[in-house]
Amino acid sequence: MAALILTRALAAQVDHQLEHEVEGASVREALDSLFAMHPQLRRYLLTDGGTVRQHVNVFLNETLIEDRRGLSDAVSPGDTIHVIQAVSGGSA
């Protein structure tokens, strides 16, 4: 079991629940377990090709994941995943 913490803007899509318990040995599996509970979140985080959206960042234990396309970064029990929108300054 790992903890997945959403940014407030994303949590608004799931009754403002910030923290979620997820399962899986990789970021892909952890996100899939989140999407199993909240399927509407998939399109917010991933493109229809399955890649993390350009302006979304996924941190594993406060470090940016390396594999934004395959989401293969390994997850261990007790890990914490943060999903946060990127700072996209300069655009009105």
């Binding site: 917010y44 493109t47 229809d48 090709g49 959206r53």
Partner: protein, 379 residues
């Protein structure tokens, strides 16, 4: 009669209601902070479909069955790993370079077109990267129109400044299987069999951004209409020209003589008059602000033989705002001279006319850039 004006902006959707089509009451902003790429009411069942996109959260479709009181997120088209390729022109060899393959991912939904009255549940979506999606269950699911996606001219389709976009879909009034699409920068395509097969329909159009000025595909159509009273009569605002076709798109005739400029994006028709067409000329093509500095709608009533400016109530002088390709529309009122026209500017102003463009009134201002306006009678 009650009319509804859907104003899509880069920061949200505003819905207006009016009895006389000049004095409007507007809602609070729906989808605050989201870019609304298109909003349309399906006249068959009253459902409002909204294409929204967000820099962080991507493209989404929402819908409402209660005039916008509540919204439900709906399915969006998906490419499921499809790839596409396109070529660039190599001036050194005066030929097309080898196509480069790209993985398709939905960037934006540019338009949602309800199907014909005789095909309930059918919706069409035009998207970036350029593709047509079809729904037969009122938007619960979407299927890629593969025949257009894999069209033989596809390598000649080149992305424009707004991406590679399928932004206009037109259905012939007398045949729900007779479809047209407008794609930038690919051109006009026609299907006579409900999308099973497609033919490029760009003969007579000039592509001055290409070395071959009259290619079969690679043309940059900006807006496209089939007249509901005569499906052989088409109009388009092209990148460097305004064109009319009298034979269903087989041949296009330039009709921009008499306009202050041939460049523009937005256009609309008069459903009661097959010879009427409205455009908003912009300076070609680097400035993209109104020709002569005055915001003007130009109207022809003789199929493009002559044009007249319509500017009573529109801003004069130093106008540095344009009108995007879906931000001019009509309300379909069929009584001659009573056609309602609506336009929204890239500066966030909305103007309305209830007399065919003779007089305009500003009905909304201080918005974000207006991406689309659509008006319908709702009761």
């Amino acid at each position: 009669m009650t009319y509804e004006l859907l104003v899509s902006t880069r920061k949200g959707l505003v819905i207006g209601r009016s009895e006389d089509r000049l004095r409007w009451e507007f809602s609070d902003t729906h989808f605050m902070g989201w870019q609304i790429d298109y909003a349309v009411r399906d006249p068959r069942n009253g459902r409002i479909h909204v294409a929204a996109s967000h820099m962080q959260w991507g493209p989404h479709i929402h819908r409402s069955d209660d005039d916008g009181a509540t919204w439900q997120e709906a399915a969006a088209p998906e490419f499921h790993g499809e790839t596409y390729s396109y070529s660039d022109w190599d001036p050194a060899t005066d030929s097309w370079m080898a196509p480069v393959e790209h993985e398709a991912s939905l960037e934006r939904v540019w338009t949602i077109q309800p199907g014909a009255a005789s095909t309930p549940g059918v919706l069409y979506a035009g998207v970036d990267p350029a593709a047509l999606f079809v729904s037969t269950d009122d938007g619960d699911s979407w299927e890629l129109c593969r025949s257009l996606w894999e069209h033989e001219t596809r390598p000649m389709w080149v992305p424009g400044a707004a991406g590679m976009t399928l932004h206009h879909i037109a259905i012939a009034e007398d045949d729900p299987q007779h479809l047209y699409v407008g794609i930038s920068s690919a051109g006009v395509f026609e299907s006579l069999d409900g999308g099973a097969t497609w033919a490029a329909r760009n003969s007579g159009c000039v592509a001055d951004h290409l070395p071959d000025a009259e290619p079969e595909a690679g043309q940059c159509v900006h807006s496209l209409y089939v007249h509901p009273g005569d499906s052989s009569r088409l109009f388009q605002q092209h990148h460097p020209g305004v064109y009319r076709s009298d034979d269903g798109g087989a041949q296009w005739t330039p009709i921009h003589d008499g306009l202050p400029g041939e460049f523009g994006f937005a256009s609309t028709i008069d459903p009661a008059d097959r010879d009427a067409f409205y455009v908003i000329p912009l300076q070609f093509d680097q400035a993209r602000v109104p020709a002569d500095g005055d915001l003007r709608v130009y109207r022809t009533r003789d199929a493009g033989t002559s044009w007249e400016p319509l500017g009573n109530g529109l801003p004069n002088g130093h106008v540095l705002q344009g009108v995007y390709r879906q931000a001019l529309t009509n309300d379909g009122v069929s009584d001659a001279g009573e056609l309602g026209l609506y336009l929204g500017t890239s500066g966030g102003h909305v103007y309305a006319s209830n007399d065919g463009g003779e007089r305009w009134a500003e009905v909304l201002d201080h918005l974000a850039p207006v991406t689309a306006v659509r008006c319908a009678e709702v009761g």
